[in-house]
Amino acid sequence: MTTSTSLVYLIALPLAGAALLLLGGRRTDKWGHLLATALSASSFGVGVYQLTQMLGRSTEERPVSQKLFDWINVGAFNVDAGLLLDQLSICFVLLITGVGTLIHIYSISYMSHDQDRRRFFAFLNLFIAAMLLLVLGDSYLSLYVGWEGVGLASYLLIGFWNQKPAYATASKKAFVMNRVGDMGLSFAIMIAFATMGTVSFAGVAEQAENTSEAALTGMGIMLLIAAAGKSAQFPLQAWLGDAMAGPTPVSALIHAATMVTAGVYLITRSNFVFDAAPTAQLLVVIVGAITLMFGALIGTAKDDIKKALAASTMSQIGYMILAAGLGPVGYAFAIMHLLTHGFFKAGMFLGAGSVMHGMDDEVNMRKYGALRKFMPITFATFGLGYLAILGVPPFAGFYSKDMIIETAFNAGGVKGIILGSVTLLGAAITAFYMTRVMILTFTGTKRWDENAHPHESPWLMWLPMAILAIGSVSSGFLLSRGDALVNWLHPLFDHHEEHEQHLLEPIVVSGLALTMVAIGIAIAFVKYSRQDVASVAPEDVSVFTKIARQDLMQDRFNETVFMRPGQVLTTTLVATDEVVIDGTVRTVGKIAMGSGSALRGLQNGFVRSYAALILLGAVALVAAIWVVVQ
């Protein structure tokens, strides 16, 4: 383990930017966005520097740590504010700062007309800092700080235009559902401390083998809940669609490339827990598989381009979670898909933003059409991302997704067949809805309003798109060449070199996958390219489509199961407090006052009746004496 003093700058630079811009107020309006972009870029620079340093060291020496100060130190509960940069976190650092910087650049132009652009950049910097803390923290508790930090940044950015009540509600929904996940993380930390006496990654990794499977399973399930909350996995997925209320760069950075993948990071980071807790691992796979299908199905019915992409994100993260749940063989592929997805999905989101930019913030794809001619660069970059997500060779998604499908089949037995089929089916549906997006947006006839003047975006916007497109094309190939990423991450994961039995040969899997993709594309073509698309969503659709349009009833479910009963409980408790508890108190008071006013009747002002009472008192006194004397 190497120590370093420069890790802190990774976080400190964007954090300083956020603080400066937020505290500086309007004074920094003029140059705030530039400063933020520069700081994000310099953080990327530090990341690259760390990578080069890391490459120059032997495998054992590669992880770098930095202890900043004693954070919480009570009895046996010792948590340092410490940073850890290893092979896993450097991937994230580069993704976060790299894509982050690109999106900063994109936003300069995208947000140029917004009067609060400075605040937007401050929040972006805050997000970068929090996300870096999340992946750099060396204990679950430091991770927790970043974890909630990104939740806060996400809340602030989703609700950036919170003057619209719906957007404000969306941001609140995201934060609260994330908090449910955070609760899981809290539980996981508590279990770790109660059973292992430590909450640092290293400590838990060391103690995991001495700890009972039950405890680890519990911790694993709690980590899974945390991951589900942050990564919009079933059953905590409902917030992601609404989170598209935020400005599009936010969707690209936070809700596609980085924050939502934090769950994958958490599970791969906690590999020592899951490896020892097969039940928890199985649950991870199940959650991944369900979400994969869930997101894909929602994606087929969405007319809002951002929501379609969000559903796709959910589905793709499902792939990653599934891979992560497959154990040591899957971690690297999960991360690889995460990285490639980071490129192509961010690219596509930026493309969507570019389209919206040209179409006066119209998001309904049914009002697009034939934009290819008007936005050639956007079309090209978006198209490259499209090919990548489909998994068409040699684009990035081909390498990463195919590996996941393959690993899924190799999981063995019925499990393997089911998982493999699900992933394959998912690939087909992905092909269908992504093709639908392409057709509706870029080809066919124009369906936009009279006063729309679609135009290509300025270079500040298309440049990041282009760079991301390059990533979408090449990253898969680069990362998988000679198993580069797998080998890079290998020291972290306890990979038992037992020879997997291949259920299907890799080439067969690829073939199957490509076939499925082709089928998906074909259906989409038949459905959307051969016939005219209505510019208003048709109502006479199948029940299935209706349900898919309503996000598979996820909101209705949450409303009936949690929100309504919660509201009823709240009103009941408020009434209880008023009537029962405070009522009891007031009744006591009323009894006192009632007896007082009853006795007050004696105080009638007539001195003679007072005298009579005194006389009565005297009688009572004498009677008492008489009794005593007798």
């Binding site: 003679r608 009746s609 006389l615 009565l616 009688v619 004498v622 009677a623 008489w626 004397v629």
Partner: protein, 263 residues
């Protein structure tokens, strides 16, 4: 009852005779004090009870107190009462109907209870014990004995009580002193008021009481020119007290002019 009769018979000493005559009288007078309507009568009965008590004191070898009782109570205090009655007692007779519901029955029940219990207690406490008597204590004379106690053991309370007396006197003066809230009207003002009043009827001053052949006193109203009585010619206090007489008694037409033959 039998024992009481026996005692009356056996101890027909002068004191017992005195007691059995005056005691019932005192109780009757006290009860009458409650029952009579006129406060003045109450006062007279009160004085009567006090004098009886003074006699009781003297009979019990408390000569000094007996005299003081007569001088202070029947002399000073009762006179004070009578003065105040003269000042205040315009509504000379009280109504004895009770206005506060249930008070009278309550008072009587309580009184019977109280009296019964007291007498029962006294019976238990003192029956069968003979008095020591004050012969020894009064050896140097009753006044001297009291004086010796008063100026030795009780000198401090005595001084305090004297201070109390002075304070009470001052207090009474302060209370009775009437602070004028308006300036005293001048002759001029009174005169103006008379003429600027509601009617000119009183401008020349109120008429005096009536003068009749058979009665010439302040308690009969004068007659106005139209033959009706002038109510304001009689002092308001007298009319309020109900002491105003009817002029008709003295009207000439009402007078029986026939001279009756003496039988």
């Amino acid at each position: 009852m039998l024992q009481l009769a026996l005692e009356v018979g056996q101890t027909a000493k002068p004191e017992a005779v005195m007691f059995w005559i005056l005691g019932p009288l005192a109780v009757i007078a006290a009860l009458a004090m409650l029952l009579v309507k006129k406060a003045v009568h109450s006062a007279i009965l009160m004085a009567f009870v006090m004098i009886i008590l003074a006699v009781f004191y003297i009979a019990q070898d408390a000569a000094f107190l007996g005299i003081v009782q007569i001088v202070v109570y029947t002399g000073a205090v009762m006179m004070l009462f009578l003065f105040i009655l003269m000042l205040v007692g315009v509504d000379s007779s009280d109504s004895l109907t009770e206005t506060i519901r249930g008070l009278r029955s309550l008072a009587i029940t309580a009184a019977i209870g109280f009296g019964g219990l007291m007498i029962s207690l006294l019976g238990h406490a003192t029956l069968g014990r003979s008095a020591v008597g004050l012969t020894a204590a009064n050896a140097d004379g009753n006044v001297q004995g009291i004086a010796a106690l008063l100026f030795s053991t009780y000198v401090w309370p005595f001084e305090v009580v004297s201070a109390l007396l002075i304070t009470a006197a001052l207090g009474a003066m302060v209370l009775a002193h009437h602070q004028r809230s308006t300036t005293r009207p001048t002759q001029r003002q009174l005169s103006i008021n008379r003429f600027r009043g509601d009617s000119l009827g009183t401008a020349a001053g109120l008429s005096g009481p009536g003068v009749y052949a058979r009665h010439n006193a302040v308690d009969v109203p004068a007659l106005l020119p139209d033959g009706t009585p002038a109510a304001d010619s009689v002092n308001a206090t007298l009319s309020a007290r109900g002491d105003m007489l009817d002029y008709k008694k003295f009207d000439l037409s009402e007078i029986n002019t026939k001279v009756e033959e003496e039988k």
